[in-house]
């Protein structure tokens, strides 16, 4: 159905694709795999007409295919969900679904009602939950991801391309999506699926192609392969991911009592002790992200008592957290994490500007010291980048994520608040981020992380928390929980629905 041969693409000095090959059959789900920066997104961008390849051929159904722009790809029957969500924040979900398409019309005017009805129909047909009447700028990352997916499902597609669609979805939604994908494939659609969650890949995909440094290094049917074989193909070497087990705890580092992130949330009590890695799980909208942001002091509506190392802090105020040794990584790197058009160096140095002072009392950074320090920091985090002066937006998605986390790993911080820290990160780097967390905990620090990946939760967390409707419905050590008990807690019925409609 879709054949790609010898595809090449360079960005300045960086070779993103170097003779990539891929054959996708109709009615099959095809997993495109590879480490961060292997060239997956670039390949898909060539397919979608966003980037023009430097060489190579693409054929669809036997005919040569060379889209000049995204429109041409759409006309050829391809639908895309790009890795970086591209939505217009001021538009509602249903309007976003029509941007770049022909709007429904009534008497030549934009037919708002029909537009909404058509989108609502698609949403309901696929069993997704989504408030479609608010501007998407007010939705969480995961909800935005659902908007992007639904957008691609608006009409019949010959080829559906999903670049890490489940990166910020939790178990339930991810499962729904897998069902949708299978359904489409059964109807004869070819699906290309990029994901770093290998168990998911094995659950949904039929075939695979592995890219390494822009080259195709393996392809075939997944039923012939094991997880370890695929990992070895991707990384180019044997690689084992250890399961963490850490239960040693010390004095309380973080203590919340009667803490409410927002007026419509119930108050919470929570303690995180030194040496602990606490995983926070829940479905989309359960209130994990807002809890983390509120602990970080980024939420002016938060109320209640918060103590860090026994010292009471104001409910809002980021500077106090930083001074107290807390670090925070948001889930939405593009809008809330990084300054995309600034250099890697500027982004990496931002939270730690005062660390590289020319003289300790002078707020004047020494750029030489900063460059040296940041190079080491990024090397520790295994970030793949060209030059420190390159824009951070030119890094692959996973490497951007690693910059955003790695920049906090200096000696000053010992309590980490991580919101979906390994979103879009490949297996090996995920292990590295995990071992950074472990080292921190061993040195007497602590980590509170949010994840939507139950695998990761069980692998990393020494203590498991589950949130539902803004309450903590489960708090137990790792060894005392099972997949089932976690999922049960997730769907714990609320006494009353505390979530009010937005807008």
């Amino acid at each position: 159905m879709l054949e790609i041969e010898e595809l090449r693409k360079r960005f300045g000095g960086v070779t993103a694709l170097d003779s990539a090959r891929m054959r996708v059959a109709a009615g099959r789900v095809h997993a495109l795999l590879g480490e961060n920066g292997a060239g997956k997104s670039t390949l898909l961008k060539c397919l979608s007409g966003v980037d023009r390849p430097d060489g190579g051929t693409m054929r669809i159904g036997g005919y040569a295919y060379a889209p000049a722009d995204p429109h041409a790809a759409e006309d050829a029957g391809l639908r895309f969900v790009h890795q970086e969500l591209n939505l217009v924040p001021s538009f509602t979900a249903y309007e976003n679904a029509f941007v770049g398409r022909r709007y429904p019309r009534r008497l030549g005017l934009v037919g708002w009602r029909e537009m909404r009805a058509r989108f609502a129909e698609v949403r309901d047909r696929h069993g997704m939950e989504l408030d479609i009447d608010v501007p998407v700028g007010r939705l969480s990352t995961a909800k935005c991801q659902i908007v992007g997916i639904l957008r691609a499902l608006m009409d019949e597609a010959r080829v559906l391309v999903l670049d890490e669609p489940t990166a910020s979805l939790s178990e339930g939604e991810a499962k729904t999506l897998r069902k949708i994908v299978r359904g489409l494939a059964d109807h004869g659609c070819a699906v290309i699926f990029v994901s770093h969650r290998l168990d998911e890949v094995f659950a949904v995909a039929d075939d695979y192609t592995v890219l390494r440094n822009g080259r195709t290094v393996g392809e075939g049917s997944l039923s012939d392969e094991t997880r370890d074989q695929i990992i070895a193909l991707m990384a180019g070497e044997e690689f084992k991911h250890e399961r963490a087990a850490l239960t040693r705890t010390g004095a309380p580092l973080l203590k919340l009592s009667g803490f409410t992130p927002a007026y419509f949330r119930p108050p919470l009590d929570l303690t995180v002790n030194a040496g602990e890695i606490v995983g926070l799980y829940g479905v989309i909208g359960s209130g994990r992200s807002s809890l983390l942001a509120s602990i970080w002091g980024a939420n002016s509506l938060a109320r209640g008592e918060i103590r860090i190392k026994e010292r009471a802090l104001p409910a809002a105020g980021i500077a106090e957290r930083i001074a107290a040794g807390v670090a925070y990584v948001p889930e939405d790197r593009r809008n809330r994490g990084l300054v995309m058009h600034h250099s890697v160096l500027d982004n990496a140095v931002l939270p730690r500007l005062s660390l590289y002072r020319a003289a300790s009392k002078l707020p004047v950074p020494s750029w030489r010291a900063a460059r040296r320090g940041i190079r080491r920091l990024l090397a520790d985090g295994n970030v793949k980048y060209g030059k420190l002066s390159d824009r951070v937006s030119t890094l692959s998605g996973g490497n951007q994520q690693k910059v955003m986390i790695g920049r906090w790993f200096t000696d000053e911080a010992w309590l980490f608040l991580l919101d979906e820290p390994t979103r879009g990160v490949d297996v090996r780097s995920k292990a590295e981020i995990h071992s950074m967390c472990l080292r921190l905990a061993e040195d007497g620090g602590a980590v509170l992380f949010v994840t939507s990946d139950i695998e990761e939760l069980l692998m990393l967390a020494g203590r498991v928390l589950v949130m539902a409707h803004g309450r903590i419905t489960l708090d137990a050590p790792n060894h005392a929980v099972t997949r089932q008990s976690i999922l049960d807690a997730t769907f714990h019925a609320p006494d009353r629905d505390p979530i009010r409609k937005t807008g």
Binding site: E74, N86, F91, E95, G100, V110
Partner: protein, 309 residues
């Protein structure tokens, strides 16, 4: 969003009107004066509605003032050369539209910052206007039928007010009920997303800038009709005020997006303040100070209600 956040700017305008009415019940609050305000704000509103189009792209067009002036000078020159009303109006509007199209094309294809591009364009247009007019104020030879387009009353309402209403409906219609308008707002909201989903950046930008200067040319024609003369820099004063109106309107409705009703409201605030302070006989310098304070207050009313997060 609280009530004061959603309708804050409208409340602001109401408060300003109420204040002036209380201070000057016989002069300000008289119906004839209030009707007259709608006439005084109309040209500003038309220019500002044009600016709303480029602001919906998240760009600026700083040539609008120069285009207003140009339209006046071009039309009176053509009348002077013996042209009839229809060809004169058509040529003037086409010229106005063309200016924006050129800016829009260069901005979109070469990614030139619209600020500098349109500032340069405004300088060029200003030079051309001077060339045509020789720097002098032009009057005479303006047909009465033309002048009547910018003065007098129709069915009890000032003609200019009706023009401004028509322009508001036109702009609201384009922005909310045509694909073109939605594409403009999509580009303005997230240019990269628009590009990736296949929104045609260049033609959409060309139209937005073109509509902007087209409305500026309309305002220039109406200004000439209203004054019976054209001054080579007569429209330049509209520039900053027009954007002030758009920004006031952005804070008014729709969560910070440029929108036509908001722009009209913004122009109304500016016009009411100027009229009210004049009628109260406030000294010149105090007028400036009050104008500034009232505008800040009008935006604050809204933002205070909105300062959540």
């Amino acid at each position: 969003m609280s009530f004061s956040a959603r309708y804050g700017t409208l409340i602001g305008l109401t408060a300003i009107v109420a204040l002036f009415s209380a201070l000057s019940p016989e002069a300000f609050a008289r119906t004839s004066n209030l009707i007259n305000i709608t006439q005084q704000m109309s040209l500003l509103a038309i220019v500002a509605l044009g600016a709303t189009f480029v602001m919906s792209l998240s760009e600026f067009d700083l040539s609008v003032g120069a285009v207003v002036s140009m339209a006046g000078i071009v039309s009176v020159s053509l009348f002077g050369a013996g042209w009839g009303m229809v060809p004169t109006i058509v040529v003037t509007l086409v010229a106005g539209f063309a200016v924006g199209c050129i800016s829009g094309f260069l901005v979109a294809t070469w990614r030139m910052p619209s600020f500098i591009m349109t500032l340069a364009m405004g300088t060029i247009v200003g030079g051309l206007t001077f060339w045509i007019s020789d720097g002098a104020t032009l009057f005479g030879n303006i047909p009465n039928a033309f002048r009547d387009m910018g003065r007098g009353y129709l069915a009890g309402a000032p003609v200019l007010t009706l023009w401004a209403l028509a322009a508001t409906i036109f702009a609201a219609f384009i922005l909310d009920y045509t694909e073109l308008g939605r594409k403009m707002l999509a580009i303005g909201g997230n240019r990269e997303a628009a590009r990736l989903t296949g929104v045609p950046i260049v033609p959409t930008s060309v139209y937005a800038f073109g509509l902007c200067t087209l409305l500026a040319a309309v305002a220039g024609l109406l200004l000439t009709a209203r004054l019976g003369s054209a001054h080579p820099t007569g429209g330049n004063g509209f520039l900053l005020q027009a954007y002030a109106a758009v920004f006031l309107g952005m804070t008014a409705f729709r969560d910070g997006q440029p929108n036509a009703p908001g722009t009209l409201l913004g122009a109304a605030i500016i016009a009411v303040v100027a009229n009210g302070l004049t009628i109260l006989g406030v000294p010149n310098y105090l007028q400036d100070i009050f104008t500034g304070l009232i505008i800040i207050a009008a935006v604050l009313v809204r933002n205070v209600g909105h300062k959540t997060q």
